[in-house]
């Protein structure tokens, strides 16, 4: 693997990880929102 190819691959993987992290964070926001509503309604 050449240095240029390695750099491209590293950046591609980093973008994929960042997108996955964003999805997880958005999921957590939604989860905490729903849990708060349920707990406040006495669930």
């Amino acid at each position: 693997m050449t240095a240029a190819v390695a750099t491209d691959e590293r950046e591609r993987r980093m973008r994929a990880r960042n997108r996955a992290l964003l999805a997880v964070l958005l999921g957590l926001v939604a989860l905490f929102y729903v849990v708060t509503i349920v707990r406040l309604s006495g669930g």
């Binding site: 750099t7 691959e9 993987r13 994929a16 990880r17 996955a20 669930g43």
Partner: protein
Amino acid sequence: MSEFPATIARPYAGAAPYVGATVGDYIQILKPRVMSLVVFTGFVGLVMAPGHLHPVLAAVAVLCIAVGAGASGAINMWYDRDIDRLMPRTAMRPLPAGRMMPGEALGFGIVLAVGAVAVMGLAVNWVAAQLLALTIVFYIFVYTIWLKRRTPQNIVIGGAAGALPPLIGWAAVTGDVGWGAVALFAIVFFWTPPHFWALSLYRAGEYAAAGVPMLPVVAGPRETKRQMLLYTLMLWPATLAPWLFGLAGPVYGVSAGALSLMFTGTAIRVWRDDSDRAERSARQMFAFSLVYLFLVFAALLLERIGGGMQ
């Protein structure tokens, strides 16, 4: 998730530059197959518990059990990366294969473990959170770090960690641990030794090369087969306990009895087989052990959902 320069030294690296782990690598270190069984037994514990839990909170409890199990798997892979590279079955995992830095796996595992326990405590209850924390701590410190490389009883005592998820599910609903939950714990606890020893019978060479003192490596296949049969017999009262104590009904009782008979049959076949086909018998027992645990818990679940028991 940190980036590393292409020239950084990797623990088990070849000549290829380090390009970072993929999302798939992060999922792989969570041991998703182990996680699926843990989630299922935890879910059954939650359904079998007396009382009611809001479906959203029940889903959060199951999610926390899954993430906690995954965190344990990630930290286990971090600690065992040296012996994992010695065994063909584990050599291609992200850490021994050099696709992930050890610190990434450890950090990932710790964040998930703390997050799962905190969310369980805040959203569900703190008894379930404490049991989840106990499970993670037990798996990492008692099984992985203390016992795994020291004694052939590693998976017997360490198996308690894998048996705790039904208790966590139960406690998520009730806020305490009842006798029914203990019965579910006992099923997984007594199932674990014959399950893992069946695997280690036909992987004994790999474990020996890695210096892991599994029972077939230390005591030989004959003693291992004897103990597998003994644990399979001890599993009988544990599996029938939910029926005997009224937690489950006759459908479960008959199903559990039939499955236990078949599981004991596979153990007897392994015990008696010293021929060239002994490895095949062990492989078949290992495969059936997974089916056995799934079907026993599925029988509990189906009977409860079907209204067989109130």
